[in-house]
Symmetry: C2
Subunit: 131 residues, 2 copies
């Protein structure tokens, strides 16, 4: 059988109503996967090899699988390339406000780090006396 | 040295400004830890042995450590008992709206399961044709 007509297993996606909150939180708890989701928030679709993340191809493939199986992204294959898209509408339907709130929290944390890398000394000291 | 005066290592807690979003998401991605957080959302403090969760003591101890180190809970020791409290104010300061949005999503998912356990067949079928 020629390679082009060999059947690969279909990419499976959970239905919107079956997206599991804990799976979504787990998927978003990794920095590479969070980066992928933030990039996909800003564009409709992207080919999998074009994400600016510094991980081995097999690791990246695992991250996409976790994202897809959690319901965060939809993937499709076309001419031996795989394209990913954020399931933003499905997620908003399943868990209103969740993705935006998490991405806003991430943007806020990133902004804190960039603006004032050493600004937390006073807060630290207070927490230590409390702990 | 008598047992009662032996010093145990102090319980460490991240400062509010150092609470890491990905650590919080990871901590909340486990069903036992999510249950603990939901219980603590409803009361000011609770002794660690009194949570209605069905896991071994060593596993539970690990879950409390993950929750404490993520910044989700504060723990204190008193007379050989450990008490836990949700750091709701700190979390709201660090990531406004995050905890409430996640807990609301969890409550919604739980309500769906209880109300209509088989209501998602149609949604599933649609997703399969799309995938």
């Amino acid at each position: 059988m020629p390679r082009s007509t060999r059947r690969r297993p279909a990419l499976t996606h959970p239905a919107t109503g079956e997206i599991d909150l804990l799976d979504v939180l787990h998927a978003l708890s990794d920095p590479t996967r969070m980066t992928i989701v933030r990039i996909l928030r800003a564009e409709p679709e992207r080919a999998c090899g074009t994400f600016p993340v510094d991980v081995a191809p097999s690791t990246l493939s695992h991250h996409f699988k976790v994202l897809r199986e959690s319901g965060l992204i939809h993937q499709r294959e076309e001419a031996n390339r795989k394209f990913s898209a954020l399931r933003a509408v499905d997620l908003e339907q399943r868990f209103p406000g969740l993705l935006d709130t998490i991405l806003a929290a991430h943007a806020r944390a990133e902004a804190d780090v960039q603006a004032e890398p050493h600004a937390q000394a006073e807060t630290c000291a207070r927490a230590e006396t409390r702990a």
